[in-house]
Symmetry: C2
Subunit: 152 residues, 2 copies
């Protein structure tokens, strides 16, 4: 099981392979982001997107699926997240794309008030099969410490 003490600031991981399907793009958008350019090729034609593209929130969700799959492989003792900064939808995500993740662990810090946990900051970069960056974000996560009150 991966705890706070096991996180190495400065390290980079690459993982994930998420196949984006037309069915899932339309299903997500129908429920949560039914703007024309996320539902229909014709309606997207005269927009920035050019053709049917995934909701940015869908891209976040697919990215989270890859992150959680990786957390589970490492049995990471995750405790959730307080939020995200500088979330950027850089390029459209289209049906047929395959997404993957690069995650840089920026830094980590023990909690002052709760010795059983620490936090860390990531920069997450999502790329499609052409190597184009489609999304970036800076996220913060909470994780259990192996040794409450120990040194880093």
């Amino acid at each position: 099981m991966q705890y706070y003490e096991d996180l190495v600031p400065g390290s980079t991981d690459r993982f994930g392979s998420y196949a984006v399907t037309r069915e899932e793009v339309i299903d997500f958008a129908s429920k949560y982001d039914p703007q024309p350019f996320h539902l229909d090729d014709e309606a997207a034609k005269d927009t920035f997107f050019g053709r049917l593209s995934a909701s940015g929130w869908h891209t976040c969700a697919m990215t989270m699926a890859m992150l959680v799959e990786e957390l589970k492989k490492n049995e990471q003792a995750g405790l959730g997240s307080p939020g995200v900064d500088e979330l950027r939808w850089v390029k459209p995500v289209y049906p047929g794309d395959t997404l993957s993740v690069e995650r840089l662990l920026v830094d980590k810090r023990r909690s002052g008030s709760r010795p059983e946990m620490g936090s860390f900051r990531n920069v997450v970069t999502v790329t499609n099969q052409h190597g184009d960056v489609v999304m970036t974000m800076k996220s913060t996560g909470f994780i259990r410490t192996r040794q409450p009150g120990g040194a880093d």
Copy 2:
């Protein structure tokens, strides 16, 4: 139809009523964020969440559903979004909660390079039925201008 020229910086809108169901929380988490505290009351008991709670990305998606419903009421000529800043999951969202949105239009700006569009910045605050703020974010949106190259 609502264009760039119709946006009033400093104005605040309140809208939306999204009933969060246990079925939808588990369905979303199963697909996109299968961490134990988003799937199961028992697994959530000893965490910050206390009981089964919605994925933060699910809260974003439900918020987007309310925002798009409001855009459609106003027939807003929206052109998507480049991203979000300072997304904060302030309190857990639980099955049985009802969410609503307050949106403050901070400012707007015509595009220098593309006279057919402008951008605006919002502060979005999501509240549950108890009046507790559960999520906040600062988002940017693109919108068509009625008069390309006109004055604000």
